[in-house]
């Protein structure tokens, strides 16, 4: 069982739709501890990605991810633009030439994307950022893969770990990004970037478990 190129494209569309539906919510989270634009930023970027997909639908998965990453970099701005952009560009590097992904390929892609985010943003787990959803999500993937789990079960585990990571940002005091300016006042609020990153892994599970 593998993840096909069409499944990748479906995932990107579903992620865009989820961002669009939850844009106001993401912005609300960002208003509480940031500057109230995370929903608008991600939505602007993913809507731009949607317009690009038809032109690259016949490319390999690596090229698709790279194009998505570059599109995000050039349309999102803010902190999330370079971070999500770098993530997808690194995922593209890790999947260059591939027309479908095994679970191993997906783990490698996620690892590369995650490393890109860390390289770019220099955040640690516990800093109250998107890292706090991505790290447990990636970790769960790896554990499942090492245990020989099926793709659906690995994806489900990764989505629910990301969700727990997202919720776990609530009590944290932010040390990176705009929320860090609030100091202690940032505690008690869920991080917007962790929330959008949780959507990323949730929509992957959702889409691929149906199609794959």
């Amino acid at each position: 069982m593998t993840i096909s190129r069409d499944a990748i494209l479906d995932w990107l569309k579903t992620f865009a739709a989820t961002i669009n539906e939850n844009a106001a919510y993401l912005t609300q989270l960002d208003s509480d501890i940031g500057d109230g634009d995370h929903g608008a930023n991600m939505n602007r970027g993913m809507q731009a990605v949607l317009t690009t997909l038809p032109g690259i639908a016949d490319k390999d998965i690596g090229s698709i991810f790279k194009t998505v990453g570059m599109k995000l970099v050039s349309t999102v701005g803010g902190a999330s633009g370079p971070l999500y952009g770098t993530m997808f560009m690194q995922m593209g590097n890790a999947t260059a030439g591939k027309m479908e992904l095994t679970l191993d390929d997906w783990v490698a892609a996620m690892q590369a994307g995650y490393d890109g985010v860390v390289m770019r943003g220099k955040a640690q787990p516990g800093d109250k950022t998107m890292i706090d959803a991505l790290a447990p999500g990636l970790n769960a993937l790896k554990v499942e893969r090492d245990n020989g789990a099926s793709i659906p079960s690995a994806l489900n585990a990764s989505a629910s770990a990301a969700q727990q990571g997202m919720t776990a940002t609530i009590p944290l005091v932010a040390r990176k990004g705009r929320a860090s300016y609030l100091g202690e006042r940032s505690a008690g609020h869920q991080d917007p970037g962790a929330t959008s990153s949780c959507y990323l892994l949730e929509t992957a599970a959702e889409t691929w478990n149906m199609t794959s």
Binding site: A40, G77, P82, K176, S180
Partner: protein, 333 residues
């Protein structure tokens, strides 16, 4: 939400069209990617200054493009740092062969986007340096956090470094002066009301009728503390004490005092604040050698103010006094 706008998503591009229609003698506006350059860019042999950041802080930065200040500005979406392709195109457009200085306010997004742009520009053979402003004493500085925000000092730095570039300083010299301005400047801000990001449609935070936020940034972020509304005298006392003690500024120092409105504050209140600041500094033996009073680095329609002090020396004074001709700051020309 009450604003003089059409569609929230068109705010930035329509603002740019307004600037283009109004100031074609001073600047040129480019779209997709969006950036503003001096009308006479590139200037051969002159170091070029490029800044940028989210929109909503007008006149910063677009209003500071012109002779004696910035060569280009890159406006992002409201409160969202611009994207690397904007800075790259702007950098290429104003590069006169003597190198380009990126002036970056210390926010995660701005830093990362400008870094990516600088890498790309260097890849195309342009000499790029960056200076990062981080003057906000409301934020505790620490190695483990994003550090202090860049706020009011950015305006002063763009003027002073712009004058240095205009007189023919090298990239290294302009960068040194810019770093000196950042090192010798400190700021703090406060809000009487929140602002409303057009695409959010409602205030970023809610404040009671008798409350204010102290230590706010310029993106509608809430501040460090919320407290009962105080008099101008007490507000200046709180903010100026934090600023003066941080560097510290000492008796005998000469400073540039910058009283900035956040966008919704009328000038009459800024003069009352300036009067308090003047008396406060007099009490500490600090002399105001130059001043700037007005709304130069704003947060949309937020009511409130920020104070910035910059320690002066003869060179900084001469560069401050040098002619400047931009839509938002103009003298001697």
């Amino acid at each position: 939400m009450k604003k003089l706008i059409n569609k929230p998503e068109d705010v930035v591009v329509e603002e740019l069209r307004g600037i283009a229609a109004a100031h074609s003698d001073l600047v040129q506006v480019f779209y997709e990617p969006n950036y503003i350059t001096r009308a006479d860019a590139p200037i051969k042999g002159k170091v070029a200054l490029v800044s940028g950041g989210g929109s909503g802080h007008e006149p910063m930065h677009g209003g500071f493009v012109g002779k004696g200040m910035l060569d280009a500005a890159c406006p992002g979406a409201v409160f969202t740092s611009p994207t690397p392709d904007q800075m790259l195109e702007a950098t290429k457009a104003v590069n006169g062969g003597a190198g380009v200085l990126h002036i970056v306010k210390n926010y995660t997004g701005d830093i990362m986007n400008f870094e990516m742009a600088a890498d790309l520009a260097r890849g195309e053979g342009i000499q790029v340096e960056a200076v990062v402003t981080n003057d906000d004493v409301a934020v505790k500085d620490s190695l483990y956090t994003a550090g202090r925000r860049g706020v009011g000092v950015t305006v002063l730095l763009e003027k002073i470094a712009g004058a240095a570039a205009e007189r023919g300083d090298s990239l290294a010299q302009v960068k040194t002066i810019a770093e000196q301005v950042n090192a010798q400047g400190r700021s703090m801000g406060m809000a009487l009301t929140s602002c409303t990001v057009p695409q959010a449609g409602k205030p970023t935070f809610e404040l009671g009728d008798d409350e204010m936020e102290i230590g706010i940034g310029i993106h509608g972020e809430p501040g460090r503390t919320r407290m009962k509304l105080k008099s101008a005298h007490e507000i200046v006392e709180i903010m100026a004490t934090a600023i003066v003690d941080d560097l510290p500024y000492k008796a005998g120092d000469e400073v540039l005092a910058f009283v900035n409105g956040m966008g919704g504050t009328p000038l009459i209140e800024l003069y009352i604040v300036y009067n308090e600041l003047y008396n406060f500094l007099k009490g500490r033996g600090i002399q105001i050698g130059r001043n700037l009073i007005g709304s130069y680095i704003t947060s949309l329609e937020m009511a409130g103010c920020s104070l910035t002090l910059l320690k002066l020396d003869d060179q900084l004074k001469a560069l401050w006094d040098a002619p400047v001709k931009t839509p938002g700051m103009r003298w001697g020309a």
